[in-house]
Symmetry: C2
Amino acid sequence: MSETRFDVVGIGNAIVDVLAHADDQFINENGLVKGTMSLVDEAMAETVYSKMGPGIECSGGSAANTIAALASLGSSGAFVGKVKDDQLGKVFRHDITSLGISFDTAADNDGASTARCMIHVTPDAQRTMQTFLGACVTLGPDDIDDDLIADSRVTYLEGYLWDPDQAKQAFRKAARVAEASGRLVSLSLSDPFCVDRHRDDFLDLVKNHVNILFANEEEIMSLYQVENFDEALQMVRADCDIAALTRSAKGSVAVRGDEVHIVDAEPVDRVVDTTGAGDAYAAGFLHGLTREMPLDKCARIGGICSAEVISHVGARPDVSLKDLVQTALN
Amino acid sequence: MSETRFDVVGIGNAIVDVLAHADDQFINENGLVKGTMSLVDEAMAETVYSKMGPGIECSGGSAANTIAALASLGSSGAFVGKVKDDQLGKVFRHDITSLGISFDTAADNDGASTARCMIHVTPDAQRTMQTFLGACVTLGPDDIDDDLIADSRVTYLEGYLWDPDQAKQAFRKAARVAEASGRLVSLSLSDPFCVDRHRDDFLDLVKNHVNILFANEEEIMSLYQVENFDEALQMVRADCDIAALTRSAKGSVAVRGDEVHIVDAEPVDRVVDTTGAGDAYAAGFLHGLTREMPLDKCARIGGICSAEVISHVGARPDVSLKDLVQTALN
């Protein structure tokens, strides 16, 4: 593979997270399913927000979290996603560019506000998310710069992109350009409900366009509509070059054809908030993969990164992942 | 003292904090003095922000933090402060009202944006702050509701209010109404540089209007322009009914005339971020005082509250202070 300017370009929803503690009663009373993401309109977002306790705001978004973690690992990254030029949009832009990540997508001047994801963190460290997509719905194929895609070893796409209508076309265009340029396409399935909403499209993508697939246990079982993990594992092996499947405390499984690695989870003193665990895992895995490391080592680095992120509130790393990985692997 | 609707009404700058990690080099290169607060205009705020790493946003403001901690202790509180009706203004309003605190100050519809305080947290857990006052400069005497002041046992004022010009008049009006209603006036000196900017006014307030004074070691020494703590202690005893003086790891000293208590600091596993330590101490102290507790117990509760707040990033409590104090005192 020829030299590229970026290791990974992430395309995703540009979102500011609002995190607050919640109890199980809150989850039940608001008809939420713990551990999942649901979409809400602006009116519902206001209603839910008014019921939440005091929050902290920080930049989020699944693919954006992955690119942020890659930057912390020392990889070079770019991000494509749509904000409005409002206060929270400026916060998102500041946070991602302050990490040395290239982010040139023009902000909307009018229309809906920057997307917000209300994250309810329960005492069991699970997170339940409600997303108001806001400005994300205007991301379209014109926002995809062919040169940027061609200049990145991996184009990383989040499954959530399938929710805003025009983003689907941006997604397809980016995958097409990456393939034509001899680059790799990677997809994260994002959420079991998201898979359920877009199963046929995701199956087509996985079979025909995706080189590296990320999914957790529920997502991969939802994709193939099977009842146990091993069945899904055997099916994805046939469909995709590389798959990295995460299983929370059970660690992860990385497969490439006949090669199958079962990698234990990293120990964590106390799991505080699982927001961003999968995003950080994908970062670690891609960091290894773009450095031609063996698959089991990629999975191990993924596990180290997710262990850091779940040990505190918020989806992005609190310390240098580069230092952390170096210490853990030595 | 007759029954009141509120235990404490806090009047202060309504600020959203932007917290980011920084190293000593950052503090030096930007000409900052560690542990202090400086004021910046909007242009400087933009410049500094562009140099900061990724941040988290959460509601702050000194008196607002105190009222938030009082709510967590189970005290009833109200807050007076000025935001704009922008996104961060809505975040501030949401966070404070979600705690059950009464907050009725009208937001500005135009003019400067909601105030932001950029907080640089260094590895030694110290915080160095730069505040853009924004909408706070429009808080004035018309924002002070006489009935609210009369219906609160204590009117708590932050020294920082002396910086925005009109807020000074709001401050004086509130103190006047509190005195006329037979209520108590409490002042926090806020910052040694703030004391330096307004020494004569603060001396007048302390001698003639303040019933309960909060200050840390540097602030009280700055107020009286003396070189050692004990000298300042003897001077403040003559000037003020009650003074609570905090000394970081050395604990605090509470005085009321001939009564002097030296109370050790609460043990903390790891000091992470000292932002809000003084605000939380004041909350604990006032919680005890409005319940007619002995002075040493007030100081002890103050110490328990500040120990919680310095054990994590951010100026407001992460857990129920009521539960924490109950456990610690039993």
